[in-house]
Amino acid sequence: MGELIVFYLLAGIAIATALAMVITRNAVHSALFLVLNLVVVAVFYLLLGAPFVAMVQIAVYAGAVMVLFLFVIMMLGAERVGGATGLRWQAPLAGAMGAALIGGALFAFLQTPAGLAPAGSLPAPLGDPATIGERLLTTYVLPFEITSILLLIAMVGVVVLARDSRSEGK
């Protein structure tokens, strides 16, 4: 019962921060709400027996990535964007579609008996860092290495993209 209360509490925070992120006008606020949301999800990860992913989530996502976001927002001064849009039907249609998506998904999950976890027969949690590290460097060593190459490419790409070509000649 306590579990359920914790879940609903955290879920409420997650949904609230997500909504706030979408609704708030200021991009900096948006980013901060997202940080909150990410932290809550990290807590969920911990509850689900995945401490390693939870730590990565906080360190990489809520930490590094969001700092980058805030940095860019402030550097560009893009807290607010003005100007009217020509897409009149965009917002209502998007809302309707989003609602349909959520509704459909909920309907599907609640309908499917397989979605209901078997009570009391949960396997032991297995997300400790040692196991994951072993798995990453044995079975999934190829995707792991490819990911490292991807990060390298992204790094080079960022350098090329962010370089100010006008200051090149100087």
Binding site: L19, A50, V65, L76, V81, G98, I102, A119, G120, T147
Partner: protein
Amino acid sequence: MVTLTHYLALSAILFGIGAVGFLVRRNALIVFMCVELMLNAAGLAFVAASRYRGLLEGQLTVFFVLTVAAAEVAVGLALMVAIFRTKKTTNVDELSSLRG
């Protein structure tokens, strides 16, 4: 008793909010953040499934998604900076020069 369905439902709700935000907001950076939210919602579903199925692969997938997302954010923000430099805006509606 918290079941997998709870988590999946939460994941769907977060994903839906992210999707609507992606479509509604005009600030490119917020649009970007909405994408992150959607990725995150998917990650939650993966980890929950991993827990209730007793398989490690769900967590590993989230790990890979995280790295790819990090790379994506880096490149995406670099693009934003480059675009801002020429267009002086981050409003996605003003970036429509590919109109057919």
